[in-house]
Symmetry: C2
Subunit: 320 residues, 2 copies
Amino acid sequence: MVEQIKYSIGVDLGGTNIKLGIVTNTGKIIKKISVDTKAEGGSKVVISQIKYGIDLLLKGNKYKIQGIGIGSPGVVSMDKGTVENPPNLPGWKKVFLRKELEKITNTKVVVENDANAAAIGELIYGAGKKLKSFVMITLGTGVGGGLIINRKLYRGDTGAGGEIGHIVIDLHGKKCNCGNTGCVEAYLGNGYLINAVKEELPNYPDSKINKLINNDTENLTPKVISEAVQLNDKYANEIVKNMGENLGAALATVSNILDITNFVIGGGVSGFGKPLFDATSNATKRRVLASLSKYIKIIPAKLKNEAGIQGAAALVYYLQ
Amino acid sequence: MVEQIKYSIGVDLGGTNIKLGIVTNTGKIIKKISVDTKAEGGSKVVISQIKYGIDLLLKGNKYKIQGIGIGSPGVVSMDKGTVENPPNLPGWKKVFLRKELEKITNTKVVVENDANAAAIGELIYGAGKKLKSFVMITLGTGVGGGLIINRKLYRGDTGAGGEIGHIVIDLHGKKCNCGNTGCVEAYLGNGYLINAVKEELPNYPDSKINKLINNDTENLTPKVISEAVQLNDKYANEIVKNMGENLGAALATVSNILDITNFVIGGGVSGFGKPLFDATSNATKRRVLASLSKYIKIIPAKLKNEAGIQGAAALVYYLQ
């Protein structure tokens, strides 16, 4: 008997881009596109960008679509289909995303926190396929998280569970967009990271980063820093070591609270590769309670940049 | 029909004292005593102190004892009855506490993390009686925690769940006994707190604390600081405000990870009362994600100093 292939749309709603894909129920992306989020325009503009992306994606589509899964930043209530206070989408407060999208698409919509959706993707198709419990961490514009406990997504009462990015690692530290100080996101989120390097770079005139950006800090990206690490640049190595130290402090906290020792790391900044994973692993093992240290495993996400789309698409199949 | 009253022994194993009580299945303590832990003697001495305490407690006892519940520091495996690396009991590493105690008492023994046991006490008889989910925090020699999620104790795979004291609040901060730096316990644990005040006190010659301790820092205790707060001493107020700030950073982290907003605080240091609860509540509400802030509740434990005994005794009835 041949199992019937099903199709759904996965929408990965980011602060900068919206990535959309048609995805099979085995996790294969058969078509994908990306459109600007236009976040500065507020929720109405962003929602019309999602609609625009879906229309673009479905041009010439011949498959039956089971539904649309959205991975959104912020606090999401899956039951109500609402998104509250997404830190990187200004002016949202509380938006009834599911209702508004169902109205304009005439299709079933499922909304979940973007990091939770990525975790679902890893759980079903990826690095978490064989793990009982793990914490998914997505390093990008923000730092997202998703908790998988006993093969189930932990949402908490209001759906705010797993906000790993807002673990405080230095209570007197850097200001975070969420209003708190010293959140791990304020150190590892793309924008924060680049701003910190911009400030520090003048102190490292010999760093190879200067040449890579033609001495113009406007060219600074995580990718450039990653390239400098591959050239064994001393300052770039230090940046990544600090990132690992900061992330490791947050992961040790999670382990000590939840007794979970598997961490799957995905998202753009995880492109720093082995140096970041080693630094994070060392810091976490050193900081966590002795009885847990030997179990700590920091592993790269398997679904890479498509985890968001795949996880969002999986919501349609796995969470209803 | 009259329900039969049952009796068990609750043992609250602390770094300084072992508190023992005969407790009814409704949580009433009918007899209690306290003996020295003699922690510096290592596990064999501590175990013989527990036995000595039990014998003392049972002198003249006429009730049938259902079992002995032990609330122990460190990472406890309830299944194996083991205690690993209790930070305030030197030289333990891994001790088969249940087995050793059952051998010398001929009675059923249940071992659980002391903070988990206190949480069970609050869940059954105390401040958590009507809460769906809450985090129990015990402020004493160390800072313990217990997670109650959907009316059940969350233990995690190895029983290390809920180690709230080892949440990192300042990754470059104070050294903690666990080997990590910046754990919240390194700021609020009795010994750490007193040491910090000893160091700072010379900078506050006008503080009323100096008079309360007859200018001898050896007389410094949390109780003295609490008395100074009641006298509206400026420095003492600052100490408690800082404690609340430190604890609030840790609780905001827990809320952001677990989407739990109820915190029950017990243990000796919680005797600072309203000023500490207010400072902790303010800091937590300010730091936590906006969508959770309005739900934050910091409430005092109901069982006060006897929570450890009552919770340990409850293990016999509720966890087997």
